[in-house]
Structures are given as C-alpha cells and as structure tokens.
Symmetry: C2
Subunit: 217 residues, 2 copies
Amino acid sequence: MSKNGSISSSVIKRLPRYYRFLGELEKQGVDRISSRELSELMKLTASQIRQDLNCFGGFGQQGYGYHVEDLRKEIGKILGVDRHFKTILIGAGNLGKAIAMHINFETRGCSLIGIFDVNPKLTGEVVSDIPIRHTDEIEKFCEKNSPVVAVLCIPKANTQEIADKLVSLGIKAFWNFSHYDLSIDYDNIVVENVHLGDSLLTLTYGTNIITDTEDED
Amino acid sequence: MSKNGSISSSVIKRLPRYYRFLGELEKQGVDRISSRELSELMKLTASQIRQDLNCFGGFGQQGYGYHVEDLRKEIGKILGVDRHFKTILIGAGNLGKAIAMHINFETRGCSLIGIFDVNPKLTGEVVSDIPIRHTDEIEKFCEKNSPVVAVLCIPKANTQEIADKLVSLGIKAFWNFSHYDLSIDYDNIVVENVHLGDSLLTLTYGTNIITDTEDED
DNA sequence: TAGATTGTTAATCGATTAACAATC
DNA sequence: TAGATTGTTAATCGATTAACAATC
C-alpha cells in the first residue's frame, strides 16, 4: 500500500522516464545506483529524484542507494505495467495503423483487442494481428469485451461525438491523437491528449530562436 | 520587435494551443474575444491568458478585448508558422511514413524536403510526394539542400550516432520519436522529444487510479 | 565505527492567480 | 461619461532545490 492520495502530475509524468532509464541500467547489469549517479545520467537533481520516489514510499536504503531491479519493479507496479487494460483503437488511417503496429501496448499495461474504422474498404484488413472492424460494430464489441481504454486516431470533427458514445459504452480512458482537445467535461475519465502538431510548433519556435540568435552574433 | 529574451517554456508550450483555439474561433467568424471568454473556452484562468500574451507585448485593447484574427496572426508569427524550415525525416517505417503523411508541416513553419531509410527495399518508394532515399545519401543531400530540422523515427540504438552526424551536417533542430532521450549535450541545438510510450504509461497510471477508486466506493 | 546516502524538513525559486489602476 | 477589460504589480501557491539528521 503506497502513501497515495494525490501525487502531483509533475511527478507522475516523470515516472515513465525513470522506468526507462532503470530498464536500461538493468539491461546493462547495474545492481545499485545512488540518487546522485542517477541524477547525472538523467540530468535531474538528486534531490528531485529522492523527493519523487518518496511520494510512494522508501524504496532506497541509507548508505547504499537504490536497488535497480527492485526500484524498476516498484515503479512499474505504480504505473500499472502488469495490468492488461483492454484497449480499442478507433481510426485505422496512417497514424492509427502506425500506432497499432509501432506501440508495444502489452509492456505498458494495455492490451489492444480491437481496431475500428468508418471506411468499409478497410474492414477485414489485418493490422498487428487484429482485423479492422467497421465502426458500426463498436457497440456490440464493447458489450461483449468491455474494453476500458480507447485510442482515438480520428478527425477532429468526430472526436467529441465518438468519445461520448464510448464513455456510454464503458470506456474510462482516452489516448487522443485527434486535433481536438478532448478535455474535461467528464468526471472519472482519464484523457491523455497527444498533440503532435503542437509539439512540432514548439520545435519551430525553438528553431526560430536559435537561428535568429546566431544571426545576431 | 517583441520583449523577447527568455520566455518561460511553460508559456511557450501553451502558445500552440492558443493558436489552435483562435483558429477555430476565426473559422467560426468570431471577431473579438475577452480573456474571460477565452479562459472559459480553454479552461484556463483569464489572468493566465493575459499574463501569457503580455510576455510578447500588448495584443489587446482595454475595454474591448482581443481581436481574434490579429491575435492569431501575432502568435503565429511568434511561433514561426510563416517560416519554411527545410526538414528531413529519417526512418520510413510505420511511424515515419505516418508522420510524413499525417502531419501538415507547411502550416507549422516547416517544409518536408527529404525522407531517408536504411532499408534499400524502400528506396524509390514515394511517400507524401517525396521519394524515399537511402541513408547513405543524407550527406550529399544536406550539402546540397541545407535542411535545418530533422525528424527522427529510428530505433533507439542508432539515434545518438545519427543525431551526431546530422549536427555536423548543419541540422539545428530535432523532432525525436525514437525511444532514446536525445537530450542536451549539444549547445544551440533544439530537441523536442516525443515519447509516445511514456505518454501511454501516464494514461495507464491514470486508468489504474480511477478504476481502483471506483472499486473502493 | 566511519562513510555513504537516504528520507524528510526547510528555503528558494518560479509559475499561477488575484487585484486594481490605466485606458479604450 | 460610464462600463468593460486590459496590462501589470502584488499575493499565493506549488514545485524544485538545499540541507541535514537518521540510519544502513
């Protein structure tokens, strides 16, 4: 049982990165690591690492540091990598297919069990071992299989409507790649918006700044 | 000329979202909007909006609010949407192809001019009007065309090596989709890491929390 | 035991929010 | 002019960093 309650989202968003770095270290055969060593590797402060980890309980040992394998397992448990949240993906366009094929859902606590698209031409096509079904079948599929996570790779215009429908069918979490800000409105529903376009614009801004700065030198 | 210098990254990361919402409003024919109205729409505080916008200068008018079209243009200029940073994409796997096809680079200040992959079987295939070239040709291509932005859709293992090479060829900005944390190390180089796996893990954590909470009720 | 390093409290820093005078 | 709403300063809140006593 962890000292849960309300971990700040700043901390939560750092956990997957800890998990990745610890995975690398484990693979390299590293047994123990101190917060200082890890901080140098991850370009964080040692203080922050200790502070972050202590939100969940004392994983370390004074005078020794942290046991890499144990710590990784603990963080994995917190994140829920051992869960198998049934997941469906809506929208099998370029991006939808790429997500289905490229992302390892299983190692991240999710299990992709259905793919849907409005385009009847895609029906039957198999992506990542899963046959694409027509959107009309979502309802029946959900009643039968009770998925909890939905990945949305659909155009902006349909997002709200489809999300509403999915909520009524029992979906609790959305991984949203559409350009629509599927925010709040729902209680007890989790939304993770991935705005690739926004991300590129941020990069463009940064590129502006450095190229401008150089010109001025 | 803006009161530039050092805008906090919290502000910068909100700009693309402002830009999107203002675009929607403009499309809907809205002429003016107050910080309060916009705050309700975007689920922010009016204070924050005024604070954010004033980092760049007074775009509003007392007693009136903000002119939607003008404000959007100004933010676009700050982000650099009118730039045409020459962009290359490395790695034409599922994700690479999807990014090339799915992202509108032009409206975000970038112009995709080359796609590369190590797999010779892909050479010549055309994605989004651009022929896939073999990775061996990157050097010559860069010398001839001088791209500044590189999109990395390659496996973790090769990322550092390829990034180093690209820096030496004049690349100033990386949009990195690989699982590798292409961070710092470089001065005057911008990196935007997109960790889709981390994003999914964050969602998994959230799903854990809400499903657990419900069980306890 | 002495040395190392955590867990945790206190201090600092930055970001968000509130308040209000300036002004359209 | 009166009303509205900004730009901006001050207050609050939260997150990060520093410090150090606890302890392996």
